[in-house]
């Protein structure tokens, strides 16, 4: 169990109020018909599954129900950064 800060509610709440919503910065291809099966598979199924500091999406499911992005260590569970959804992150370490 850890605490997560919701950037919309501006409150730190227990993690079970939130749902994990997968790796961050995976954009849906703009023209799915035009890309190869391999690229489509990469978008749908393949993941970085990074061990270390990892950018991911969370949704405040039992709160404001909005999505935001979190940089969290998958080794220690330490929350390193929380930003509203759509924030440009310059160093997108993957």
């Amino acid at each position: 169990m850890f605490l997560l800060y919701c950037p919309y509610c501006n409150e730190e709440r227990e993690q079970n109020e939130f749902s994990a919503a997968g790796e961050a910065f995976i954009a849906r291809p703009k023209n799915p018909e035009a890309i190869s099966d391999k690229d489509w598979a990469d978008y749908v199924f393949y993941r970085t599954n990074h061990k270390g500091d990892h950018w991911e999406q969370w949704v405040h499911a039992n709160g404001c129900r909005k999505y935001f992005i979190v940089k969290r260590s998958t080794i220690s569970h330490e929350i390193l950064q929380v930003e509203p959804f759509g924030t440009e992150i310059s160093e997108q370490e993957s």
């Binding site: 169990m1 993690q15 079970n16 749902s19 994990a20 790796e23 099966d37 391999k38 489509w40 598979a41 990469d42 749908v44 199924f45 393949y46 993941r47 970085t48 599954n49 990074h50 061990k51 990892h54 991911e56 969290r72 998958t74 080794i75 220690s76 569970h77």
Partner: protein
């Protein structure tokens, strides 16, 4: 030289002050092997064993970053069954089940495989329809399975709560009589010992830190105990598969999650079989030592931390207490988490990769223990012949590109 275990060796060692040979010799890595298996869990050790035994390749090393039996092999809830819905999955798990049935004799090591039966409970009419469908599919595939009604369950498991007033009343179950449990770390020890007796080097405390790839072909691995060359490398590292894949410049359709389990203090025999429930999400058996072994679900976020959340434990405990109110005063002894590699279709990847000579056996997710001998067996043949074993063909990594997924997730009484 290690000797076979027998009644004579037991008597001799007993009379001579327990003077046993080292079961798994501690060896230094050589500079080159034909095949390196990365990961000394049950699946990796089984792979090495079958490479030596069935494929005639004995110049094999298993490199393990920890100690034998200290990873996921010693962290699961030891349940073994093969009642999967899909033909591809049930053939693979039934292959494993047949190997389990002779494994202790084959390995000359008692892995305490106990076919005490597995019940998968149904709690709604839809559950029961799914169970009937799965049981019929099992029977057509030659897997033993039957539908049992609630009265029969009560007769077999008198402590179960079958009241109709429950939030999720027990309505029936599927039953696989050949299912059961095995001593999980014993399985790792047994395979490790049997493989090393055939000439395989089991190298513990040896973490792979890089995989050497040259011109699209694997050359060997860098480890914390030096570089080791090899013609072929098989990665069987469960939760850390993506980490190894990255070393070779690959990505996998896998995410790692913590999966938790816990055990009670040891008690007199009270539960003689395995009871699983997908709907309320808990599964339980009693070990030969007497403790109740209870499995929970995965945490939904990625983690490599080998620990999970308390509410997941609470959820599983609530499910078990609903089914077995008699356990409400039982004290829990230990709780732990393991890191599982979850595939989008909850089925494994047993496959070559685009790097020549590099193979992956991963993605077993929350249910790999039951497949240990079968997984090792088909992976050994896949590596030895550089061609997938027929049972492994549907589990090629390309299925995520072609779309031929094996839709087993939630379809097979799997508990996750």
């Amino acid at each position: 030289m290690q000797k076979k275990y027998s009644w004579y060796s037991l008597l001799k060692a007993g009379l001579s002050g327990q003077d046993w040979d080292q079961a798994i010799p501690l060896v230094e890595p050589k500079s080159k092997y034909d095949i390196i298996i990365v990961g000394g869990g049950g699946h990796g050790l089984a792979t090495a064993y079958y490479l030596a035994k069935e494929c005639g390749i004995k110049n094999v090393a298993v490199v393990e970053k920890g100690y034998i039996g200290g990873g996921n092999t010693g962290r699961n809830t030891t349940i073994i069954r093969s009642n999967y819905l899909r033909d591809e999955a049930s053939s693979l798990y039934e292959h494993a089940m047949k190997l389990w049935e002779g494994i202790s004799e084959d390995l000359n090591f008692n892995v305490m495989f106990s076919q005490r039966g597995v019940y998968n409970l149904g709690h709604s009419l839809q559950d029961m329809r799914d169970i009937e469908r799965r049981v019929n599919a099992n029977v057509l595939n030659g897997v033993d399975a039957q539908v049992v009604d609630v009265n029969e369950i009560k007769q077999q498991i008198p402590i179960i709560n079958i009241t109709k007033n429950a939030r999720y009343p027990v309505m029936g179950a599927s039953y696989q009589p050949r299912g059961g449990v095995a001593r999980h770390d014993g399985v790792a020890w047994g395979f490790a010992r049997a493989a090393s007796m055939l000439g395989v080097d089991i190298i513990q405390d040896c973490e792979v830190i890089d995989i050497e790839v040259e011109e699209g072909r694997v050359k060997g691995v860098k480890t914390t105990r030096g570089d080791i060359l090899a013609d072929r490398v098989g990665c069987v590292s469960a939760g850390h598969s993506s980490v190894l894949a990255k070393m070779a410049g690959l990505r996998l359709p896998i995410e790692s999650h913590p999966l938790q389990a816990f055990v009670s203090e040891a008690m007199k025999p009270v539960l003689h079989t395995v009871v699983m429930s997908n709907a309320v999400h808990g599964y339980i058996s009693q070990s030969d030592k007497g403790d109740l072994v209870i499995g929970a679900g995965i945490d939904s976020y990625n983690s490599y931390a080998q620990r999970g959340n308390s509410q997941i434990i609470e959820h599983a405990a609530a499910a078990i207490l609903e089914l077995f109110p008699i356990f409400s005063r039982v004290r829990m002894n230990r709780q732990w988490g393991g890191i599982v590699d979850v595939c989008p279709d909850a089925c494994p990847i047993i496959s070559p990769t685009k790097v020549e000579g590099l193979y992956f056996n991963c993605g077993w997710g929350t249910g790999g223990f039951k497949a240990t001998p079968g997984s090792g067996n088909v992976f050994a043949h896949t590596i030895a012949q550089d061609k997938q074993h027929p049972l492994a063909v549907p589990f090629h990594i390309d299925r995520f590109t072609t779309g031929a997924l094996i839709d087993e997730h939630g379809a097979a009484g799997v508990a996750h």
